[in-house]
């Protein structure tokens, strides 16, 4: 019975094999970048923080960008007294390593030392527990889960095409539901990260004005390390929202995540 079906399977395997071949194998970060990272760690331990910062940034520019590097960079900024950049780095690290307790702890430590003491606009713990998929998993993890689920759906569909067994149908239904949930979460997270709507004040003191440009009236002043929400960007200015107040700020004063 199976002999009749072998043909399409051969085609499929051939296609998969071909795809693996055609798609260029992107190399992992070069040894060079990793060496730079290791070097930066040593410099950090030697308490030369500004040198460490430049080395971490060099590793990043060479294409080596794991969450741990952002975390180390954040530490280096923190030790160097650059609270805003430290918080920005920790936030980037958190995107990649959302369950890493060191990252979360250091982010809280850095936040507690900001001047403005504005509580960042984050949902309460209960909601974060409920939406654990969004808050406890990184975008990459969600994307991989989505892909695996999608593959599972098609695999089950393929099996169902030939063997119409009812348990497979219910399997497909369940898989599709889980796929939709995780896929939606991944999509929302993807959108939020791509929209770059969060930023951190990196200058010591930043003036928020009524409109884009220096000619507008100053509304209020915010300080290093405060996290803000970006509503829109125009030229060199960004419309921000912080603690229910809105205004325009110079992009040089902020680091957009």
């Amino acid at each position: 019975m199976l002999r009749r079906y072998y043909k399409p399977f051969i085609i499929i395997f051939a296609v998969i094999a071909l795809m693996e071949f055609i798609v260029p194998q992107q190399c992992f970060a070069t040894d060079d970048a990793y060496t730079t990272f290791v070097q930066a760690n040593q410099v950090y331990k030697g308490t030369n923080y500004s040198k460490a910062i430049s080395l971490y940034n060099k590793a990043l520019s060479l294409g080596f960008a794991p969450g741990g590097l952002y975390y180390n960079l954040g530490n280096a900024y923190y030790r160097n007294g650059d609270l805003g950049k430290a918080i920005a780095s920790y936030l980037r690290a958190r995107q990649l390593l959302p369950r890493n307790s060191d990252v979360l702890e250091n982010l809280n430590t850095a936040r507690s030392q900001t001047i403005d003491k504005i509580v960042p606009n984050e949902p309460p713990a209960a909601l974060r527990q409920f939406l654990f998929l969004y808050y406890k998993f990184s975008l990459d993890e969600l994307l991989w889960m989505t892909a695996v689920l999608l593959a599972a759906v098609f695999l089950l569909l393929s099996i169902y095409t030939f063997f119409r067994i009812s348990p497979i149908r219910s399997f497909i239904k369940i898989t599709v539901i889980v796929f939709v949930i995780i896929g939606t979460t991944a999509a929302v997270k993807f959108y939020n990260i791509l929209s770059h709507s969060t930023a951190v004040i990196t200058s010591k003191e930043a003036v928020v004005r009524a409109g884009p440009g220096d000619s507008y009236a100053e509304i209020f002043v915010i300080h290093n390390g405060t996290e803000i929400k970006i509503l829109e960007k125009k030229d060199n200015s960004a419309k921000i929202k912080v603690d229910k107040k809105k205004g325009w700020i110079n992009v040089n004063d902020i680091d957009i995540i």
Binding site: M19, G67, T109, L150
Partner: protein, 611 residues
Amino acid sequence: MLKLLKYTLLTSFLLFASVSQAQVKVLASINKRVISLNENVNFQVTVEGSQKTLMPKFEKLTGFSILQGPSISRQMSFVNGHQSKSVTYSYILKPNAVGSQTIGPVTVKVGSQKYRTKPIQVEIVKGNKNNSKNDPAGTADLSTDQNIFLNLQVDKSEVYANGQISLALTLYYKDVDITDVTQPDFKLKGFFVYDDGGRPVQQRVMIDNMIYQSVRFQKLLIPLSAGKHKIGPFSIDVTIRVPIRGKRRRDPFDDNFFGGSIFGDFFGNYKTKIVSVKSNPVTVNIRKLPLTGKPDGFSGAVGNFSLNVDVSPKTVQVGEPVTLTVKLSGKGNIDNASIDMPKDTRGFRIYEPETTRDSRVSEGQLVGKRTYKQAMVPTSTNAVLIPAINFSYFNPETKKYVSLKRGPFKLKVKPMPEDSKLRITELTSIRNNQGSIRILNQDIFPITTSVDSLGSSKRAINNPAFYTLVIAPAAAWIILAAFARRRNRMLNDTALYRRTNASKKVKARLKKARSALKNDNNKLFYLELSDALTHFIADQIHIPAAQVTAITLSKILTGYGIPQETVEELKNTLEYCDFGRFAPGEFSKVEAEKRLSASERLITELEKVIS
């Protein structure tokens, strides 16, 4: 299961050895009590404890003549440093007359002393006792109760509930080659069955002047309820090796027919047989424990126990623990015995006792030990008295209840020194502050250097494997679904199926026609060529192949836009084939070759036009 055979010899040696050297014993034994005139009886005189003996002398031996013997075998062994010796004189005696005859007594001089054995009665009957002609395998002997039997014994026929009964199930056998014995199943309702520990006991015993081998299984029973209980009967399956007697058959057919003879040759003409041996049942009477004199707090322990209570240290400070150790030991079902430990004693904080329990069967008696260890912490200097420990049991020997009491125990409790009081208050003040951690210094956690906690540097959206995972299964499904659809259409749409397979079929037919031509098989050539064309046309336009003939051809093919000359040529070819088949004339190979290649060309043309 037991490998009895192995042990039989060994144990017989050991048992003879166990007789002490100083004690000399002379025993006479026979192997059969009832024999027929043409049988012999084996008579043995065994002297245990010495080897300095003279030949035994028959005081009386009427009705028998000595056929053979005496053959002398001396045995000597050392067990645990004790030397034991024995001599056995074996005679084979032949009866001379029917009736009850007496062997012996026999006198043996051992050293300077003379020993006399008891006379042994043997019954001699006429003719064959076992009709051995009808029983070539000689199995009749084995089924008799004399050579193998099972005996069930209990040590007491009357016992109190919760008391102990020792049970012995003994298998006796002689002149039987036992290779295997199953363990009897000792499941009994209304009893706790304890293993006696150790393996079954093997012995040589003399019953009725005959020596038997015996295997004894021992169990200890604790009756749970009063009343008359029947124990057994038990049965044991015994595997016996039986020599195949009589003439050895040489006929191979016979061998196979009766089976086993091939193995018999290998194993010296033996076959095994499983015999189920059943014991006698035994009834025991279980008595209720008397109600009179039953002490309070009697927990059901029956036996003979002793109670030991120890308190240490006797002098303590407030807050320091005192250990109360209670040891209960003795004969009887200690599993049923329990002691009430002090639970709610004023002035003490009491912890759950640690208990250990150990019970085993020793020398046919259940003995056990139970220990309680309880920590008691005096909370004030007023706590000076640990209450008494009570335990009561029923002694089945004296038929009386016994109550044991140890204590109460006096303690000397000292007040706590001042500085330890301080420590406690300090601790409590610290405890009260729980819930808020005083932050000494705020600092960040160190950088990460381990590769494991770094996380991946590669993003999924840059990873080809990710896209493969998304696309490949989807593509696979599309291909599979398309294939499945096509297959379904083929199954449901015959016209399509015929059309799709028409060219494949026609090729096969033309090939056949070509090979027919090669082999000069004219008839087949015409047939195949004609079939190739008609079937191809029929398949293409989905009509029965029989409808396609040279006459109907032009009618059928109208409306498909086929050029007139092609139709004509087809018609000619079909006619040529029909002529060839039905009006055989001169066969031209060249002409046939031409027609064949023309047909191939025609088919390609038709395929193009029709589809």
